[in-house]
C-alpha cells in the first residue's frame, strides 16, 4: 500500500502540513473556522531538532502492533485499504497502543479517556492533504521507499 515518507533533507519546518491536515479534517474545510471554531486537530506533526525537521504521522505499519495490542478492538485495520483506523467510541484510553507504537505518533486525549484523532491517509483524496500541500516536496506518497 502507499504510505507517506518524509524527506528530512528538504523539510523546512513550515508546518503547512499540519495546517492542511487540520483543514482537511474539519467540517467547514475553512482554515479560519477549522482553527478558531472547531479546534480541529492535526494528525501529522513536525518534529524539530536544530536545523533538522520532518513531519510524522501514523505509518500504517504492515505489522500494526497497536491493532494487535488493542484491548477493545477500537484500533483496527481496514481489510481493503490496509489503513489503520481508530474508533473513538470503542476506545477506553488504556494507552496500550501508546506503549507499542514504535513511532510514538499516537496522542492521548486524556480528558475524554481516549486516543485523539489519528492519520487516516485522507480517504476522500487521491493524495493526502499533507503531501499535496507541502511546498518543498518534503513528503512523498509512494508504494515503497
Amino acid at each position: 500500500m502507499k504510505r507517506v515518507y518524509p524527506r528530512e533533507e528538504v523539510c523546512i519546518g513550515c508546518r503547512l502540513c499540519e495546517v492542511h491536515c487540520k483543514v482537511e479534517h474539519s467540517r467547514s474545510k475553512d482554515v479560519v473556522k477549522a482553527f478558531k471554531r472547531e479546534q480541529s486537530v492535526a494528525r501529522v506533526r513536525v518534529q524539530e531538532n536544530g536545523p533538522l525537521s520532518f513531519a510524522l504521522q501514523c505509518r500504517h505499519c504492515p505489522e500494526p502492533y497497536c491493532v494487535y495490542s488493542c484491548l477493545t478492538g477500537a484500533m483496527h485495520r481496514d481489510p481493503g485499504s490496509g489503513v489503520v483506523k481508530h474508533d473513538p467510541d470503542r476506545c477506553v484510553g488504556c494507552w496500550t497502543c501508546v506503549l507499542v507504537c514504535p513511532f510514538g505518533v499516537l496522542v492521548r486525549d486524556v480528558a475524554n479517556h481516549r486516543i485523539g484523532p489519528k492519520c487516516d491517509l485522507c480517504p476522500d483524496r487521491a493524495v493526502p492533504a499533507c503531501v499535496a500541500n507541502c511546498p518543498n516536496e518534503a513528503l512523498v506518497y509512494a508504494e515503497e521507499a
Binding site: Y5, L56, T96, V98, G104, A145
Partner: protein, 443 residues
C-alpha cells in the same frame, strides 16, 4: 467436521480466527467457549463494573464477526477433555467434536488460596463478565470492600469500586502494590495516587479468615489479618493472580509445566495441537526462555501466529514479554521487560525522576540493548523505546536520549531513523543534503 477447532473465545481465539482467514478463506472453523456470549474485552470489566461502559461497547469485534468469518460458535458449553489420539474434543455432556487442527486458548483461572470462610457469599474473584455482574449486584447494599492482592487485577477492581462509592482496603502480601510489574519508585508513585483516592493499603499482610455476620453466617462481616487485626467489609475480592486453565488438557498427553509448553510456532508437544495466551508458556525474548506472560496483547499475537501455522503458513513467533499499560487513579504508567536490574549481571539502569511532577522514566540496558523499561506520567514516547527493545536494536550510542524530556523519533541516529521509516539505503529518499542541493541546481 470443522477443519479448525479453537477452545477459547477471547484474545487468542479471535487472533487465530483472523489469521486463519487471511490464509484460508474456506476451511470450516469452530470456536468453543463455556461463556455464553460473543468475545468481549476482558480488561474492560473494570469500566463495566464502574458503570462507565456498556455491554455493547465491550464487544471485542463487531456483532457479525462470526458469521462474516464463517465461524461456527459453540458457546455456553464446557470442554471436559481432549482425546489427542482420536483428534476429538470431548464435552461435559458427552458430545464430541473432531478436529484437524486444534488451538487451546483456554486462558487463566483466578488463583484463590484456601482461606477460612472463603466460601461465604460476598467473596468474589474478578476476571470475567460474570464476576463483574455478581459484584455489581452486591454493591447496592454494600459500603466497604477488602481487595486481597495489590496487583493489576486488584488495582483495576479497586478503581471500579471507588467509582461506585465503596470504601476499599487493599491487603497486599509484599511491601508495596504492583510489585510484580513496577520497581520501587514507580510503585511508590502509584501507591500515592491510590491512597489519595481514599483507598487504604495494608502491606506485608495476608487474610487468614473471612468472618460471617452473627445472625447470617453466610454473609461477610470482616476479614481477620495474619496479625490479628480485623477489617470490617461487606464483600471481599480475591485478586491474587491467575493460573493457566489446564483442566481441558489434563490426561491428554499435551505437555505442560505451569502452562502448556509451546515452541516458536505455538505448537504443543502433540502434533496438530497449538496453544497460546494465558494458558501457554511461550517464548519471552527478553529472558530468552519460555514462560507465562498472561497479558492480552501476547494472547492475541500468539493466537495470530498459531492461526497462520494451523492454516499452513509457517510463521515464527518473535516472542513476547511482560508488558503493561496502566491508567488508573489518574496515573499513566507503562512498563515492559525486566522490572529492575537487581540480581542481573551486566545490566545498566538509566533513569530520570522529577519528584515534583512524579514524571519518571527508566530504561535497563544489557550489552547496549534495552531489556526493561518503565515510564510514569510522561508515556507518550514510550512506544519508541518499546519498539527498540522488541527489535533488539543497539541503543548504546544514544542511550541517554531515551530518558530525556524531548525524546522523539528525531532523537534516533539518522540511519536508524530511516530504517524505521522503511526507507532503504539505496532509496532516492535517502539523500544527504549535498545530493539534494545538486539535484535542485541541475533542475
Amino acid at each position: 467436521m470443522p477443519k479448525y477447532v479453537i477452545i477459547g473465545n477471547s484474545a487468542g481465539g479471535i487472533g487465530a480466527v483472523e489469521a486463519i482467514r487471511q490464509v484460508d478463506s474456506e476451511g470450516p472453523i469452530a470456536i468453543v467457549s463455556d461463556e455464553p456470549y460473543p468475545a468481549y474485552s476482558r480488561p474492560m470489566i473494570s469500566e463495566y463494573l464502574s458503570g462507565e461502559t456498556s455491554l455493547e461497547r465491550m464487544l471485542f469485534r463487531p456483532r457479525d464477526f462470526y458469521r462474516a468469518n464463517g465461524v461456527d460458535t459453540i458457546f455456553g458449553k464446557k470442554v471436559s477433555g481432549i482425546d489427542t489420539k482420536e483428534s476429538l474434543v470431548k464435552f461435559a455432556n458427552g458430545d464430541t467434536l473432531r478436529y484437524e487442527k486444534l488451538l487451546v486458548a483456554t486462558g487463566g483461572v483466578p488463583f484463590v488460596p484456601k482461606t477460612e470462610g472463603g466460601d461465604r457469599e460476598g467473596v468474589f474473584t474478578f476476571t470475567t463478565l460474570r464476576d463483574a455482574n455478581l459484584i455489581s449486584s452486591k454493591l447496592e447494599n454494600a459500603r466497604s470492600a477488602v481487595v486481597i492482592g495489590g496487583g493489576l487485577i486488584g488495582i483495576s477492581v479497586t478503581q471500579a469500586l471507588v467509582k461506585r462509592d465503596i470504601d476499599v482496603t487493599i491487603v497486599e502480601l509484599k511491601d508495596r502494590i504492583l510489585n510484580v510489574l513496577l520497581d520501587e519508585e514507580a510503585s511508590r508513585i502509584a501507591g500515592q495516587a491510590v491512597l489519595k483516592a481514599g483507598v487504604k493499603i495494608v502491606t506485608n499482610s495476608t487474610v487468614k479468615q473471612i468472618t460471617g455476620q452473627p445472625f447470617a453466617e453466610q454473609a461477610v462481616r470482616s476479614v481477620i489479618l495474619d496479625n490479628g487485626d480485623e477489617v470490617r467489609c461487606d464483600l471481599v475480592v480475591m485478586a491474587i493472580g491467575v493460573m493457566p486453565r489446564l483442566d481441558a488438557v489434563a490426561d491428554s498427553g499435551i505437555k505442560a509445566n505451569r502452562g502448556i509448553v509451546v515452541d516458536r510456532y505455538m505448537t504443543t508437544s502433540v502434533p496438530n495441537v497449538y496453544a497460546c495466551g494465558d494458558v501457554a508458556e511461550a517464548y519471552d525474548y527478553v529472558l530468552g526462555i519460555n514462560r507465562l506472560t498472561p497479558i492480552w496483547p501476547n494472547a492475541y499475537i500468539g493466537g495470530r501466529i498459531a492461526g497462520f501455522n494451523m492454516a499452513g503458513l509457517e510463521t515464527e513467533y518473535a516472542g513476547g514479554t511482560a508488558m503493561n499499560s496502566m491508567n488508573y487513579f489518574g496515573l499513566a504508567i507503562v512498563s515492559a521487560g525486566l522490572v529492575t536490574a537487581d540480581g542481573q549481571p551486566d545490566c545498566e539502569t538509566l533513569y530520570h525522576l522529577n519528584s515534583e511532577t512524579n514524571v519518571y522514566r527508566k530504561v535497563i540496558l544489557r550489552d547496549g540493548r534495552i531489556v526493561g523499561m518503565a515510564f510514569v506520567n510522561d508515556i507518550d514516547k514510550s512506544g519508541i523505546v518499546y519498539g527498540l527493545m522488541r527489535d533488539g536494536i543497539d541503543v548504546g550510542s544514544f542511550k541517554r536520549a531515551l530518558i530525556g524530556d524531548d525524546f522523539a523519533l528525531i532523537s534516533l541516529p539518522k540511519d536508524l531513523r530511516k530504517e524505521r521509516f522503511g526507507i532503504s539505503l539505496d532509496s532516492p529518499l535517502y539523500g544527504d543534503q549535498e545530493d539534494l542541493v545538486e539535484e535542485l541546481v541541475l533542475e
